[in-house]
Symmetry: C2
Subunit: 284 residues, 2 copies
Amino acid sequence: MESTGLLVVRTVADLRRAVAGFRKAGRTIGLVPTMGALHEGHVSLVKGALERGDVPVTSIFVNPTQFGPKEDFSAYPRDEEGDFTKLREAGCRIVFAPTKDEMYPGEQLTTVTVAGITDGLCGPLRPGHFQGVATVVSKLLLMALPDRAYFGEKDYQQLQVIKRMVRDLAMPFEIVGMPTVREQDGLAMSSRNRYLSTEERTKALVMYRQLVKVADTVRDGTKSCSEATAVASQALRDGGFDIVEYFTVVDADSLKPLEHVTGPARVIAAARLGRTRLIDNLAV
Amino acid sequence: MESTGLLVVRTVADLRRAVAGFRKAGRTIGLVPTMGALHEGHVSLVKGALERGDVPVTSIFVNPTQFGPKEDFSAYPRDEEGDFTKLREAGCRIVFAPTKDEMYPGEQLTTVTVAGITDGLCGPLRPGHFQGVATVVSKLLLMALPDRAYFGEKDYQQLQVIKRMVRDLAMPFEIVGMPTVREQDGLAMSSRNRYLSTEERTKALVMYRQLVKVADTVRDGTKSCSEATAVASQALRDGGFDIVEYFTVVDADSLKPLEHVTGPARVIAAARLGRTRLIDNLAV
């Protein structure tokens, strides 16, 4: 069991068998749920698992139920062989790459819903998205039965939804949030960055710069949150973004909008650049 | 760990510790989720666990989220000491009797919903009921982490909801349905039978008798399901039931209404006798 190398499994039964093998050898398990098209952000999650002593298990599944009817499910980048190479190099030990039928055998009648923290930000803009995420992540956790699961802070609302779900349902797993990995110029790594043209790639950086600016401004209290984010939204439009879906400062736990920062907060934004939707956030 | 007797635990941490102790000794675990006010039906679930070699763990929690605003949450019978005695005598080893705050610490934002099989029967009559059931049973399963969980067939729709939920969410637990336990005259055991006056107790039997009659009639094809159940509904009203909520024949898995029985089916009824709501069902 303790040979090195990456084991590719396609079924829940094989996944559980592989995980049980490592458990029998006294190891703990760290799950990294992904939709593939892996980048350094995902790799940092695998490394996070290794650093905590967990055997890294990565799942790759482009989950249809978290895409809206007009979203990019079909276009979403898929590169299984490239992903496997990256996982092998990162030290991942098991990759679970199921078919849609293995993830959803028969009709899925059961859904997991997290209220409250999905009321704002991406929630109303992507109806059904977080229900799709909560349901598929529940399934992946219950299939892999890890000790911990690792998620990037880049999808900050998703991370909070999953933390809350695990707590509310008393799931026996620890959820670990890992810092966003950025390109040298600051752009948050994202599988969707592959959609950007060279020109758009340059414009995309405006979002990160404005997040930094708003975080600085509201931290030292120079401006209120709504004043600071109004300036930033305009800067995004001026910088070539087509639609600013939101640019706001929220409480780090409840995700409720803040006017003044008094405790842990997050400045968070979503905007469209051509056909690409970008999201990012920073701690205040 | 392997001393005899019933261990009473009040917290998830103590429950997990007790279960882990039995696991370490190589034992498997059988969970029996209940709302207390235990009768021979519950005892048969504990015995079912013992017969399969599981260490029986019973939970007692009157779950507020599965009662409607006009339902009998406050009046629901509670008899903790009597329940503990019955569990001790039945050979149960752990009873988990949490407070509301232990089951729902902080606001419960997460819910588990099972569509389709909740569309009919008790579903529309008790809005939110099965969501409350699915959510609390998810939590109890994930708190206790058993090998199997035992439920009575008397709450047949509930049993199907839980089986479907466990399958859809890939929960690593087996759900075992156990036959309804009846009084000598055939009345299905129920905690709510305690509500019945002597006169009502006599009338209550009409439901069982009509279920038997409909099952016989539709099995041999003498009448169609709708004809047979129309006769039975009238017999319930004639026998003193105040409201017949439903009396129908359904597919045993999908719970969809049937007109003719060609495979596994269930004749199932709900009706009110004074202030008491009784449900029962039989295999066809």
